[in-house]
Amino acid sequence: MSSTKRRDDRRAAWWFLLPVSAGFVIFYGYPAARGAWYSVTDYTMLNTPSFVGADNYAKLVQDDQFWHSLQVTAWYVILNIASQTLLALGIAALMHRLTGSVLLRATLLLPWLVPNVTVGLLWMWLLDTNLGFVNHLITSLGLAPVGFLTDATLAMPSVAAINTWAYTGYTALLLYAGMLQIPQHLYESAAIDGAGEWRMFQRITLPLLRPVLALVLVVSLIGSFQIFDTIAVTTQGDPASATRVIYLYIYEQAFKYFHLGYAAAAAVCLALILGVFTAIQMRLLRASRSDLA
């Protein structure tokens, strides 16, 4: 490589990186530092923030609402990830062995393409206690109508089911894409050996899919921890705080009560939790580098 090219490169790199660097500094780096600073102040958006040390964190630890929101979030994550991953794995396996037609794939992708706000509204209407179609089916069987989103024990499973509907197809397509990487001849020779579909799934599909499955699982997990839109539309944290997830809690502290310092401290806690999963995700991303390009 000539030295002219090297000098050209160096000068050009500066311009190539200018917009992204500006974006990083202004909207990621600087706000991250500012958020950390807010978390140790009494900022309310109206005052000049003054340092209060670890006060916000001390209050958080004793705040039942905060712990409750973490619990509720964990409950949602467990419900959503379990149903979504198992269903998606089943659908992907069906597509892999039966049909992967573009039409089916487009259909499965449809709920993912729709804004969560629309998804929330759609299901709020379908699950409405008096007029909803689902309750119409239930009452026509002679059963009492169910308050899916108004009953404190049912609200969270209902929200988890709504988001499972919205994201399972997308997750299934990611897993299906992973399955396509598995060499076909493995199935052919297994079939010659007389292996059934279930056995092939257990012995070939599942083990070879593991890296993709792990990545998809971690990415879904990170996404699930940050559920907000669907809940903001359907239940707004009710009934009886049964769906007041951590994201909604932080949002309310910041933009309803203007406890910005306090909200920032809660956001730091959430960031620490998510940081663990994100670190795993980045390792997995690096490991699957060859698949990505």
Binding site: M1, D8, D9, R10, A12, A13, F16, L17, P19, V20, S21, G23, F24, F27, Y28, Y30, P31, A32, G35, I91, L98, T99, L104, A106, T107, L109, L110, L113, V114, P115, T118, L121, L122, W125, L126, L131, F133, H136, S140, Y170, L174, A177, L180, V216, V219, I222, Q226, D229, A232, V233, I250, Y251, F255, A264, A267, L270, A271, M282, L285, L292
Partner: protein, 294 residues
């Protein structure tokens, strides 16, 4: 014996696929069906797959084509709703973010993959570290920043945090540029091209697929955006479709939401996405082979 079992299993599997398709599609059908139902029939006509007395009035009032009195008579609040405007705002929002973010991230991805400069790997690692920052953490300070800059209720304030970059796109496009064959570029250097020439004339045209992938997924995400536009674009002039739906829900006059209007608006919020799926569906479906972001 085995053959019979096998085909029975296959039949069962097809039935399962059919059920999945119905469960996926039916809510959309019910949305359109409700949008076509007169508000007065909502209590009496909630069983059939088609409305008894289909009407387009709900679409008309959501698009602001009816008078206030007509809208009230049809079950609306009479509050000013102009969904056409919100749709346009959403299209502008998505278009700006998808095009600029893709271009800027491609530039950076190319520099990280192909240009030689001191500290390259370190800078890349720092930029990628932004993946570690959860959106809620930067949301509050970014809101304060945009407020201090006087950009609340402006399109500039709405697109600002995402128009310049997203760490995943930088990562993704760098991976692709790394895989481009070097000899094509070397030939371009011999023809007297500098880094810009190679980027515009060689690298970008050779990466149409990945660029389109990033642009489409960015468009979808921008179309779905809710919280940031809710905070920064509350005004009538720059309200996005998703925010408008939320406002519409709150504006409902009675204890019971204005379902026919909401479903008409929801249908309108899905239509552009369907058009996108029609044009680039195949590419979008294929793109899932690459992207693992959600």
């Amino acid at each position: 014996m085995r053959k019979k079992n096998f085909s029975l299993g296959r039949l069962l599997a097809w039935v399962v696929v059919a059920v999945i398709v119905v469960v996926t599609v039916f809510p959309f059908w019910w949305m359109v069906r409700t949008a076509l139902t007169p508000a007065a029939d909502l209590y009496t006509d909630n069983a059939g797959l088609l409305p008894h007395d289909p009407t387009l009035i709900n679409f008309a009032r959501v698009l602001g084509l009816t008078s206030e009195a007509e809208a009230r008579a049809a079950g609306g609040s009479g509050a000013h709703i102009n969904f056409a405007r919100y749709l346009l705002n959403s299209v502008i929002y998505c278009g700006l973010i998808a095009s600029f973010q893709t271009l800027f991230c491609a530039m950076a991805g190319y520099a990280f993959a192909r240009l030689r400069f001191p500290g390259r790997d370190l800078v890349f690692a720092v930029v990628i570290s932004a993946l570690m920052v959860p959106p809620i953490f930067t949301l509050l300070p970014n809101f304060v920043l945009v407020k201090d800059l006087g950009l609340i209720n402006t399109m500039a304030g709405m697109v600002a945090p995402s128009i310049l970059m997203t760490p995943f796109a930088v990562f993704f496009l760098r991976q692709f540029f790394l895989s481009l064959p070097r000899d094509v570029e070397e030939a371009a250097v011999l023809d007297g091209n500098g880094p810009w020439g190679i980027f515009w004339r060689i690298a970008l045209p050779m990466s149409r697929g990945p660029l389109l992938t990033i642009a489409i997924t960015t468009t979808v995400w921008a179309w779905k955006d809710f919280l940031w536009p809710l905070l920064v674009g509350r005004g009538e002039d720059n309200r996005l479709v998703t925010v408008a739906l939320g406002v519409f829900l709150q504006q409902s006059p009675n204890t019971q939401p204005d379902w026919t209007g909401l479903m008409a608006a929801s249908t309108l919020s899905v239509l552009p996405v369907l058009v996108l799926l029609g044009f680039v569906g195949k590419r979008l479906v294929q793109s899932l082979n690459f992207t693992g972001n959600k």
